[in-house]
Structure formats: C-alpha cells, structure tokens
Amino acid sequence: MARTILPFGPQHPVLPEPLHLKLTIEDETVVEALPTLGYVHRGLEKLCEVRDFNQMIQIVERVCGICSCLHALCYCEGVEQIMGVEVPRRAKYLRTIWGELHRMHSHLLWLGLFADAFGFESLFMQFWRVRERIMDIMEATCGNRVVVSVNVIGGVRRDLSPEQCQWIEEQLAVSEKEIKQLSTTILNDYTVKKRTVGKGVLTKEQAYQLGAVGPMLRGSGWAQDARQTGYAAFGELGFDPVVEYDGDSYARCAVRFRETLQAIDIARLAIARLPAGETATNVEGAMEDDTPKPVAAGERRDIMQAYNRDKRHRVTAAPPPNLDLPAGLVAAKVKGKPEGEAVTRVEQPRGELMYYLKGNGSKNMERVRIRTPTFANIPPLLAMLPGCELADVPVIVLSIDPCISCTER
C-alpha cells in the first residue's frame, strides 16, 4: 500500500494552536504522527532575567490567555514558598474562587470548540453563551475578562463584597441550569457519540507510562488531580476527582463536562465559606525601598482631559449592574529578594502545571522553568493517533485540549 505524508496544520502561526503534525497515512488510516513545535516561541522565560520578580507575575500570566490566573497563582505560590510569606486565609479562598471560574470558562470554551470540530455549530454557540456569563463575573470582580491580574505575591489585589458574592452565586446558578440543559446533547446525542466514542483510545497503562495529565489522565481511569495536594484553599474544601474509564475522546469530553459542574460547586462552596480578614499580607524585608514615601493623598479626580474620547463611543444597551466595590483595597507590599528554590504544582483546566523557580538573592529570578500540561500531553497524543482515520484527527487532537502557546512560552 502506498504511504503518503500529509502535513496537518498550522496554516499560519497566529492562528489558534499552531501545532504541526506530519501524518503518515496509508489509504485513510494514520500510521505515524510526528509533531513539529516552535512556531510561537516568545522567550518569556528569558524575560525573567531582566524583569524583577513582581513584574514577572504579569509576564507569566501572559503565557496562556485562557488559564492566566492559574499561571500567576502557581508563580506566586512558588515565590511565597521561597520567601516564607504567609498568605491570609481569605486570599487563599479568593484565589480558589477565581481559579475555579477560570476552569469553568476554559472547559466551556473547549466544549464549544469540540462541538465545532465535528460540525455541531449550534451546540458551540450554546456553550459559548454560557461562557459569557462566567466572563462577566470575571469582569465585574477582577476588572478584566481574560487576563485578570488578581494574584500578587502575598495575596490578591481585589476583594469580593457581599453583594458581589450574592450576584456571583445567582450567575452560577443560572449557568449551572443552562449547562445541565446541554448535558443530554453533548453526552447522549447520536452525532456526538458517532464522532467521539472509541476514537483516540488511550489505555490506562499508556496514560501512566506516557505521563498524561489532567482530563487525559482522568479520562483513562486514574483519579489523580493536582488539587489534591491542597494548594490555595483546596486542602480545606475537599473534593473528589472526576474519573471516566474508557480513555477515548468521549470520556475526555465527559470528564471536562462534569468538571465544569464540579467547578461551579467548588466555587459556591468557597464563597459560602469565605472567611473574613485581610486579602493581602505586608511583609517588610531587606530590599531598599525604591518607592517614595506617600505624600498627602490628593483626591482622585475624574479627569478625562488627556483623551479625546470618541463621541460615538456611546452606551446604548443597558449597562451591566454597578456592583458595590469593596472599599479600601490594599495592594500587597511584599519586599525582599527571593533566594532559594521552589517547585510548585497547580491543576490547570488542561492538567497539571509545574513551575520551578530559582532566586539568587537579587531582584530578578535566576530561573523560571514552566512545564505546561500540553507539553506533557503531546506524547500520549502521538500514541493515540496511529490507527485512527484521517477524518478523526482534528477531533482527537482537540480532545487533548492543546494549548501550544502554553507549551512554547
């Protein structure tokens, strides 16, 4: 039989997920897949040598647009570990809430894209409509929709007022109802099952040996989740990992779907148990203070003179509710120079994220090594592809939830 080598993606490096696969096919069956990476390398790890460790929070957040909050969380936990900073309990809970909101919106995004991959466009829009609610919560509580920038070393930058907590709970209740309505479609529909059941099977042994992480691992029957290590407030919240046993694309889809609902529960629980107290810690260290002492705080005036605002920039639709912002937000002022090493792990929507940080007693970190979940999931992907049909390749590739910009930093 004649073999053909078929290039699969990327059409252009700026398109989503520029993963290039060289597929060797026999007739319509894939016999070998070879990946080519490196289309979107941005050198973010190198930047840590010139930016100080506080500025790095904003930089590591931009490793990935979808799970930005968890990158910052992982980095901050690492630096806190090196510097011995104790984070207030309220800050830990707030980190958990925002982390779970990120998980929801990432999974909903993926479920939509997955539906789109096998041509179910209207399901894609249903999921993304629910996602919009989660994005609204993020905008109202953090100030941005995707790259939220709330984690800082020693705590969080924003707080949740009781009104906001109540509003979040209402929004989560509505989202949960809407997601549950879609459960029969994504999990029981004939079209969906036809395209996913038995496609791209990763057996339990393969998942273990090739080091799969996240929903890949749990879809193959392993009950392992980095949240079990109890970072942020997970140690106090308690949960069971979602596990499916079939190891095919359908199982991974089911894991993600059930995790979305689980994330809603965890976020609700965290809101219900939100302890009172500070949101950020202030630790004075040895570093010389390069910020000047505050002068008498002038009143913040609403001045727009610097901008010629576009007159057409008018708001005609009903603006979102103005929720009471909690007063007196304190920015954490952790000073000092990190010296030492730390390894931290958090569970991203896609799997386990690992940071290795090394400080050498200067303002800049000596080394920031990031291992992202997609990087760990590429070997299992290559094991899944041989034997599948060419038409199933996009669905199988998407079922690992590839995030190539994560992988290449």
């Binding site: 109202a140 941005n144 930058r157 009903a318 979102p320």
Partner: protein, 122 residues
C-alpha cells in the same frame, strides 16, 4: 436525535443573546480596567509607575516634568495605579477607542522643585 429541540424552541422564543454591535455597545462593569488616565497636575514625578510597570511603557522625566505613556504597549494590568503614591493615575471603565496609528500620551507637568531651589525662591 431531538435532544436539542427544547433548547432550539427556547432560543426562538427568547430575545437574542447578541447585540447589534456598532449600534448597541455594552457598558462595562464598575471597576473595569479600561483607559489609563493621568492627572498630571498632581503627579510628583516620583517615577514609581515607570519602575513597576511590567511592560515598561511609561517614561517619566523628573527634570523636565513630563509623563509619557506608550498606550499601545500597555497591558491594562493596573499596577501603576496601585503604586502611585498620589493617586493621580486612575483607570476609567471605557475602552480606549480604536486607533489607526501608534499613539503616545505625552503630558507636561510642573517638575518638582529641589529643596534648595525652593529655599532660594522664598
């Protein structure tokens, strides 16, 4: 086969989830980090914002009394607003309007006088 029928009917009955964008613009929530505004009259040219900005888009010249921001490089993280000791930086909740050219905000203020000069002036 007809799993989505209920959703489809509901969607037909309720009003649309999208809006006619250029005509209807959604407002932003309170606390949204939209546009960076500097009230240069209260600025003391301490350069904190320049030092802390992760994308290094602010340049402050404390001799000439100028505050410059490369708005196209700003990532809207709000760090400068947090560190400004006089609270002269703030963020409004509107987006910056779309631009066709690279923009820079250049603000001229009154530079801080040195203590000696102040004493001489009196």
């Amino acid at each position: 086969m007809f799993n989505m029928t209920k959703n489809v009917v509901t969607n037909l009955m309720t009003k649309s989830s999208t809006r006619l964008y250029p005509i209807a613009v959604r407002g932003h929530f309170e606390g949204f980090r939209g546009t960076l505004v500097c009230n240069v009259d209260e600025c003391i040219f301490c350069r904190s914002c320049m030092i802390k900005c992760p994308s290094q888009c602010i340049t402050v010249d404390n001799k000439a009394g100028t505050w410059t921001c490369e708005v196209m490089s700003c990532v809207y993280c709000g760090v400068c607003v947090d560190v400004c000791p006089t609270s002269c930086l703030s963020m409004t909740k509107e987006h910056r309007p779309v631009a066709t050219e690279r923009q820079t905000i250049f603000l001229q203020g009154v530079p801080k006088k040195k203590k000696k000069e102040e004493a001489a002036a009196e």
